[in-house]
């Protein structure tokens, strides 16, 4: 009847009156600005550090800066007098992070499997809760605990034993100082364990239950279900989680700073007291001369590039495999 000749409803009196008509647009504009500020902050940080580091890259050459093994800080105000090669720090960063991942990854996979498939329901929440709590402990406390309790009481005796029994292998040979790559790496492993575990657990919990039941139906034992169904299914997510842990380990500062040693050389032994990118920045910043400060900016840029590559790849993988998982919570 009235479908053809419907009257236009009267325009809302409120809709066009006063300030109200602009409110929505203003609000939206404010939100867009807030969203864009994230991009602005990141690009400002990158641009400014690259700008400040540029002179040292020119002076030393970008690749000489990265692969140079000599770090001799100068003390000039307006010129470069030292030699700046960041390789010892890059090497230390890579070595400690690798040690951390090698230790933490198998442990994290096993913990996730246990929590998801073996633990009784009540214990499950408690266990995952305590893993999350471990993630919340500030890194300065890991550093303090590592330096004053864990290394002297547990790790150093173990390293000494390793050194005396396997010392004929160059990797384990030499002296065992109190702080070294290995000690920093082990504490890093403890720190990244909860991050890898949290995401791995989410991914494993997302294994299609049908496939698990089907495997049981075919007579598989629990260990077979885990190794043939759950692990292959969550492989991608585990890779992503590992890389997130790796990214964290590469960028960790304080705990590493307190446990790595702080010499400005690269060593090819496990028990070498070296230095990492992040630790070197924090350790020398307060005494840095203007020229060294520029070089530290260069170290910062290298650290940023290294962690960004790992992080971007990790995020892409995790986004693909665990999109719904609120993995960000654990970070």
């Amino acid at each position: 009847m009235s479908t053809t000749t419907r009257e236009q409803p009267p325009k809302s009196a409120l809709r066009t009156r006063g300030f109200g008509q602009y409110a929505d647009r203003l609000f939206t504009g404010f939100l867009i600005l807030a969203g864009a500020s994230v991009l602005a902050i990141l690009s400002a940080m990158v641009i400014r550090t690259v700008y400040d580091a540029y002179p040292v890259f020119v002076y030393q050459g970008f690749f000489d800066f990265i692969f140079g093994t000599e770090w001799q800080a100068g003390f000039a105000r307006n010129e470069f007098t030292g030699t700046y090669g960041a390789w010892p720090f890059i090497w230390g960063t890579l070595v400690t992070a690798s040690i951390a991942v090698v230790i933490a990854l198998p442990l994290a996979i096993c913990v996730s499997l246990f929590i998801t498939f073996y633990a009784p329901k009540r214990a499950r929440t408690l266990l995952s809760y305590s893993v999350e709590i471990l993630a919340a402990v500030p890194s300065i406390i890991f550093g303090l605990w590592g330096l004053l309790w864990f290394v002297p009481n547990v790790l150093h005796p173990f390293s000494n034993w390793l050194n005396s029994t396997l010392g004929f292998i160059p990797l384990f040979g030499g002296s065992v100082p109190n702080t070294n790559y290995f000690h920093a790496g082990v504490v890093l492993a403890i720190m990244i364990l909860p991050i890898i575990t949290a995401i791995t657990r989410e991914v494993m919990a997302a294994t299609p239950p049908d496939e698990v039941s089907a495997a049981y139906g075919l007579g598989a034992t629990k260990s077979e279900v885990l190794s043939r169904v759950v692990l292959p299914r969550s492989f991608g997510g585990i890779v992503g989680a590992t890389m997130l842990g790796l990214g964290r380990a590469l960028g960790e500062t304080i705990a590493v700073l307190m446990l790595i040693g702080g010499s400005q050389r690269a060593g090819y032994r496990l028990f070498f007291a070296g230095d990492s990118l992040a630790a070197h920045i924090a350790a020398t910043f307060q005494d840095a001369s203007p020229e060294t400060l520029t070089a530290l900016m260069g170290v910062g840029v290298v650290l940023f590039l290294l962690t960004m590559v790992v992080n971007v790849v990790a995020r892409l993988i995790v986004w693909r495999f665990a999109r719904s998982a609120s993995a960000g919570d654990a970070l």
């Binding site: 409120l14 929505d24 939206t28 404010f30 939100l31 867009i32 600005l33 807030a34 969203g35 994230v38 991009l39 990141l42 400002a44 940080m45 550090t49 442990l107 994290a108 096993c110 913990v111 246990f114 073996y118 893993v131 999350e132 709590i133 471990l134 500030p138 890194s139 300065i140 406390i141 890991f142 550093g143 303090l144 605990w145 330096l147 004053l148 309790w149 403890i190 575990t197 034992t221 629990k222 260990s223 077979e224 964290r248 590469l250 960028g251 500062t253 304080i254 307190m258 992040a278 920045i281 924090a282 910043f285 530290l296 910062g300 650290l303 940023f304 962690t307 992080n311 986004w319 960000g328």
Partner: protein, 307 residues
């Protein structure tokens, strides 16, 4: 129950009982038991560090915490007594400022991502925010130093403001991403209901969506605060540390609890180390209390939403 595989397969009827284990069943069963044992053992092993840290920090720190520790400034490293008041004040000031910067900005960005953003731009923001959680905090400290201190020609120097900006940048992506997850759980029906009553979009957001998500948002903010409170590395480059109580935010180096722990731990003097343990215990209590309360509110909130 036949035990051997040969006798079961030579049953006269050709029928094999289900309870019979033939072939490699025993080996598989044994492997299953081994897997179970290994996983249980490793779970226990992974739980050990958490227990060790908590026990050790409490054991060493409990004796140090006193009224004096909370209210007095630190005495020279080798001397007994004094406390972390400078650190508590500094951390408090910087956290308040950091919250003031990071929370409104982070919440607004999260609202944008959930209700307003569309297409590639919001995906880009979401991705960049995710990636930002992985930026080393020491790089953030370095960059904030470069922008604020070098960039202003030292008009703004080391101190509370510079430190607070660094902590805010650490907190920002955490606030954005976890708030986004929370806001997503607010049901679309509530938004529709608000629209149906004639509310504008901004009214819907501020009067309906935000209150509904409030408990969850509290959780995300508290988690970010817990994270920010414990940050040390960026403060070395921005706040610079001070054992005096500082109330000037812009141009005086300011103390923070993590910085005082760091300085105390490196000293060869027993009193300084003791105070560091005390500082560690107080920091741990602050951070864990925030985290646990946040998780508790969060779990209640997510239950409420599910109804």
């Amino acid at each position: 129950m036949t035990e051997s595989t040969t006798s079961s397969s030579s049953s006269p009827t050709g029928h094999t009982s289900l309870t019979v284990q033939d072939g490699n069943a025993r080996r598989r069963k044994r492997k299953n038991a081994v897997t179970r044992a290994v996983l249980t053992f490793l779970m226990a092993l992974a739980a050990v560090p958490l227990v060790l840290i908590l026990v050790e920090v409490v054991r060493e720190g409990a004796g140090v915490i006193s009224w004096e520790f909370l209210t007095q400034r630190e005495s020279p490293p080798a001397r007994e007594g004094g406390g972390y008041a400078a650190g508590f004040v500094g951390t408090g000031i910087m956290m308040l400022m950091a919250i003031g910067i990071a929370v409104p900005l982070g919440l607004a960005a999260a609202i944008y991502l959930v209700d307003y953003g569309k297409g590639a731009f919001s995906t880009l923001i979401r991705f960049v925010t995710d990636v930002m959680t992985g930026i080393p905090s020491v790089f953030i400290g370095l960059a904030v130093y470069a922008i604020l201190v070098l960039g202003t020609g030292q008009v703004i120097s080391f101190g509370g403001f510079t430190g607070a900006v660094a902590i805010a940048i650490v907190m920002l992506p955490i606030v954005v991403r976890s708030s986004e997850e929370v806001l997503k759980t607010v049901s679309t029906d509530m938004r529709r209901g608000a629209f149906a009553l004639g509310a504008r979009k901004w009214q819907t957001t501020t009067r309906v969506v935000l209150p509904a998500a409030a408990p969850g948002l509290t959780t995300s903010i508290m988690l970010a605060v817990a994270r920010g409170t414990g940050e040390t590395a960026p403060l070395i480059l921005t706040a610079f540390g001070n054992v005096n109580i500082v109330t000037d935010f812009f141009n005086t180096a300011i103390g923070a609890v993590p910085l005082q722990i760091y300085n105390g731990a490196r000293q060869p003097f027993a009193p300084g180390i003791e105070r560091a343990w005390g500082g560690a215990l107080s920091l741990l209590v602050i951070v864990l209390v925030l985290t646990v309360i946040a998780r508790y509110i969060g779990s209640r909130a997510s239950k409420a939403h599910r109804v």
